[in-house]
């Protein structure tokens, strides 16, 4: 099977006044053609850095230490400016996290989404607007023709996120990268969006990479799941592997904390105790050691091995599992 996207051994650091923050360390990830891959992890685990790296829009204090991000066998990180611009918004479309600030505040939505279609030379202005109207209908924006001439602040947060998804879908991309695409939406809207994304996957043969902390989203939509913690991938597998046979203690803890899978009535939602380690000086052993319930002496001293659980499709890094 071909991969739409392949990330090999990616490490990215941030230069800050108080030292170098090792935001991503040796991340490996594959997004197969036509599949949906979910990246799950709590805030600060490096999800957003990964996303910025995929479209080569890292902030200027980021340093790529090593690794490659391959799209059609070309490394995105060393791509020419010209090729990059074709990549962005044509091959890879993105939906960003914060719907309130996604759009330019002083231009109408119509102007912006028309602009975003600049790659489609065969569409004239009227056709571009028509496309937007179609997409808006698809994502459930009432009275789309009128709303094209409105400014972003005249829409609710949920509507803006739907428009952001519509903008990405307009491109008919090979890969759609969505950063927390449903966080700002209410439950019914969320279901609609998930349905939309699945439909897109089926109709267009496009791959989707979804970054989220919401396990429900990945369960609904994804074929593969990557669990990230503190800048590292700790477990990877199919959706069944992760939900029914979780191996890494962090994955297990994450699943236990999801309110949707709670089996008993409880006064307090369960949490994972402790905090993410300081990424300026990550621990020599396992990054999860300080919060792990099964921690042993070995965990704090040596880096955990990769444990293959099913022919390279499902693996995790853990001393405990390797025993």
């Amino acid at each position: 099977m071909n991969n739409a996207l392949e990330i090999n051994n990616l490490s990215i650091h941030y230069q800050t006044d108080s030292g170098e923050v090792r935001a991503l360390r040796n991340v490996n990830l594959k997004v197969p053609d036509g599949k949906v891959v979910g990246i799950v992890g709590e805030s600060g685990c490096g999800k957003s850095t990964l996303m910025s790296a995929i479209i080569n829009l890292l902030s200027e204090n980021a340093i790529v230490k090593n690794g490659k991000i391959l799209f059609e066998n070309t490394d995105i990180l060393t791509m020419s400016k010209h090729r990059l611009r074709k990549l962005r918004g044509y091959d890879i479309a993105t939906v960003f996290q914060d719907p309130m600030t996604t759009f330019n505040p002083v231009m109408t939505i119509g102007q912006q989404l028309t602009d975003f279609q600049h790659r489609f030379k065969e569409r004239n202005r009227q056709q571009k607007r028509q496309k937007i109207i179609e997409m808006f209908e698809l994502v459930g924006i009432p009275d789309p023709a009128q709303r094209l001439n409105q400014f972003p602040h005249e829409f609710s947060g949920g509507m803006r996120q739907r428009m952001a998804i519509a903008a990405a879908l307009l491109m008919n991309p090979r890969l759609l990268v969505a950063d927390e695409p449903t966080t700002a939406l209410d439950v019914t809207m969320e279901a609609q969006i998930l349905h939309l994304l699945r439909k897109m996957k089926n109709d267009f043969n496009g791959s989707i990479l979804i970054i989220t902390h919401h396990l429900g989203v990945v369960a609904e939509l994804c074929d593969y799941i990557t669990v990230m913690y503190a800048g590292e991938v700790v477990e990877q597998g199919t959706v069944e592997d992760i939900f029914y046979r979780p191996s890494h203690p962090y994955t297990k803890a994450l699943l236990e904390c999801d309110p949707a899978v709670l089996k008993r009535k409880t006064r307090y939602l369960p949490t994972i105790k402790g905090r993410i380690p300081d990424l300026r000086t990550p621990p020599p052993g396992c990054v999860f050691a300080n919060r792990c319930s099964k921690v042993s002496a070995q965990c704090t001293q040596t880096a955990p091995p990769v444990v293959d659980l099913s022919d390279g499709n499902h693996w995790c890094i853990c001393h405990e599992v390797s025993k």
Binding site: R88, F96, D98, N104, M107, D115, A167
Partner: protein
């Protein structure tokens, strides 16, 4: 919005009134006998009394000030001490010349400074950015009156390309435009630097915003992102800067008008200062202050109006 506009206008009026009062009191408190100072040591008592009466200085200060304000509201700025003409007439004759000069200066500065700032951002931290930066700082640092003297020396006196003095023949647009080039260049040069820097700084701030990332993520070129997506927002703070800078433009005009012997409010004030023509000085300073304060008030209102976010908050 209306409420905000009202507050802003009231503050402007308050500042104007305050400035007027201080100036009036200052003139009143001139050490020594103003008439004697103005007329010189050989003045006869009759001449002094006549002058004092003409200046209205023979009455108690509060009456003088209130009648002064009442007169201003009627458009009466008093009489020129020497020629006995109405100060308001003299000012309205000369004001257009100064306005043309000021707008020409700011106009070419905008036309060059804004693109320079944008190119600085497009090629940020590169050689181009550095050169534009150094040029901008130098333009700001060099006093406009020195620029005026030097361009006068080079282009009018040595090369004889452009006229050295005056504002051009009356009714002849071409000759007026030619007379405008050197002074407008001198006044505007510093502003090119200011605007380039301001646009750069303000735009770099905007470039950090999320919607710029969206535009880039859709493959728009850096030039397009800068000129179409960032520029409009970056110019909002620049509007108020231009308004505040009008003060500097007026100061520049004073020098340029004197150096190029152009009729205008600056030249008028200068001649009035050297001949101690108080009513003219008062009138000219007041008119420029009114002009300046109303420009800053308008800029604040415009700024509130251009930003759709602010506009909605203020509604």
């Amino acid at each position: 919005m209306l409420n905000y506009a009202f507050k802003r206008v009231m503050l402007g009026i308050l500042i104007l009134l305050f400035t007027m009062m201080v100036m009036y009191v200052a003139v009143y408190l001139i050490p020594g006998d103003p008439a004697a100072v103005a007329l010189g040591p050989r003045a006869t008592p009759e001449m002094k009394a006549d002058l004092l009466a003409r200046m209205g200085l023979d009455q108690p200060i509060y009456i003088q000030f209130s009648s002064f304000i009442v007169n201003i509201l009627h458009g009466d700025l008093g009489l020129d001490v020497w020629s006995n003409r109405e100060v308001s007439a003299i000012i309205s004759e000369t004001m257009p010349n100064t306005m043309i000069l000021a707008f020409a200066s700011i106009g070419w500065a905008l036309a060059l400074g804004i693109p320079l700032g944008c190119f600085s951002v497009i090629y940020r931290n590169s050689f181009v950015d550095r050169i534009i930066g150094i040029l901008s700082v130098s333009f700001i640092a060099i006093p406009s009156f020195v620029v005026a003297i030097f361009v006068l020396l080079i282009f009018a006196v040595q090369l004889r390309w452009l006229p050295a003095i005056g504002a051009g023949e009356e009714g002849d647009i071409l000759s007026q435009a030619r007379a405008l080039i050197l002074p407008a260049f001198a006044i505007g040069l510093g502003w090119v630097g200011y605007l380039a820097r301001m646009v750069r700084a303000s735009m770099l701030e905007v470039m950090g915003e999320q919607h710029i990332r969206t535009a880039r993520a859709f493959g728009l070129s850096e030039t397009r992102v800068v000129f179409r997506y960032a520029l409009a927002i970056s110019l909002i703070p620049v509007i108020s800067l231009i308004a505040v800078g009008m003060g500097g433009i007026i100061s520049g005009s004073v020098f340029a008008e004197i150096i190029f012997a152009r009729p205008g409010i600056g030249n008028l004030t200068y001649n009035a200062v050297t001949s101690r023509n108080y009513p003219v000085v008062m009138g000219a300073v007041m008119v420029t202050t009114v002009f300046y304060v109303s420009i800053t008030v308008m800029a604040d209102l415009l700024m509130a109006y251009t930003d759709p976010r602010v506009r909605d908050v203020l509604k």
